[in-house]
Symmetry: C2
Subunit: 207 residues, 2 copies
Amino acid sequence: MQSLIKLSVIFCCIFLFACQGSVDSKVASSEKVVDDSVVENQALHAIFNRKSVRQYTEREISQDVLDNLLRAGMAAPSSRDRRPWHFIVISDKEILDNLGGQLRNAFFMAGANKAIVVCGDEELSDNCWFVDCSAVTQNILIAAESMGLGAVWTAVYPYDDRADIVRETFGLQKNIHAFAIIPLGYPLEKNEPKNKFDESRIHYNKW
Amino acid sequence: MQSLIKLSVIFCCIFLFACQGSVDSKVASSEKVVDDSVVENQALHAIFNRKSVRQYTEREISQDVLDNLLRAGMAAPSSRDRRPWHFIVISDKEILDNLGGQLRNAFFMAGANKAIVVCGDEELSDNCWFVDCSAVTQNILIAAESMGLGAVWTAVYPYDDRADIVRETFGLQKNIHAFAIIPLGYPLEKNEPKNKFDESRIHYNKW
């Protein structure tokens, strides 16, 4: 019995030591996030790992996940805080099929579980709606990456032929412009992000 | 001695039980990130918490942190993968002071520890450089938030008067356009993000 107790104590001590180590590494890494490490910074991780994903499984995207994507979109900054954005969520397979067929190089849209059309209202921001919609789109793409989704920025703006197709599909009013369509789904395969870092594009205090 | 061992065993058991609880809650919350929770998703957290910060402490931004910001900028998607971006990092206090004095409503720039000027090259992407630069700017803002920095999107595009000031300051070639300036520093005060979620902007399958 006594040797059993001793064994338990030794085991517990080892376990406690391991626990302590894990706590220490947590503290150290949370300090590191601010200063010089991306390892534990999930936001940087999502930014660096975002990539264009065009093939998806049939897994359903839940309303909760969709809500987070839309909230992320609306968390973007906008010129003079005009918030000139609207979102059309497409879950109807027929609409996805039709858009995939009509829009040039957008066949992959037919395989998406859902898509979000990011639109801008020129009555709210005549000279900046497309700049603001770009930040909105980027927020949604990073949010998608962070939740394990695949997505791809499918440009509508500044192409009139694509804009006409989307306008007709949804009967958009004159002041509403489709900016981009983001098809969404869980990735069929593992996709690797590109490393686009290029030091020659960085200038210090002068060109 | 024996009662001491017994006490140790009881203590260890309590500790082990607590550890187990913490492991369980971790598993549950990591599942939740994908499905319905933002609590543990630092990327969503950074997106939702990004806000305009215009007052900064004198704390220096390290080169590592700066590198992460620039890497985040260059991780943005771009139309036809043209990557039409350039970055001017300003650490020279005189330049920050001058820009803060010359640009309308940009006095706060003088108090920044550093600033990044996001530029676009129209020779690389004539019709989309500003759309791509917008995604670049948003990436940098989210990265800044995630590393505890304060920042604010200071528009240059589409304002000719501001563009002229930046062009003259850095002697930019004709094809290079300043898009935005992002002053950066550690926040002087706690700033709260706006909640801009508006359900009326969401449409399902039709306008």
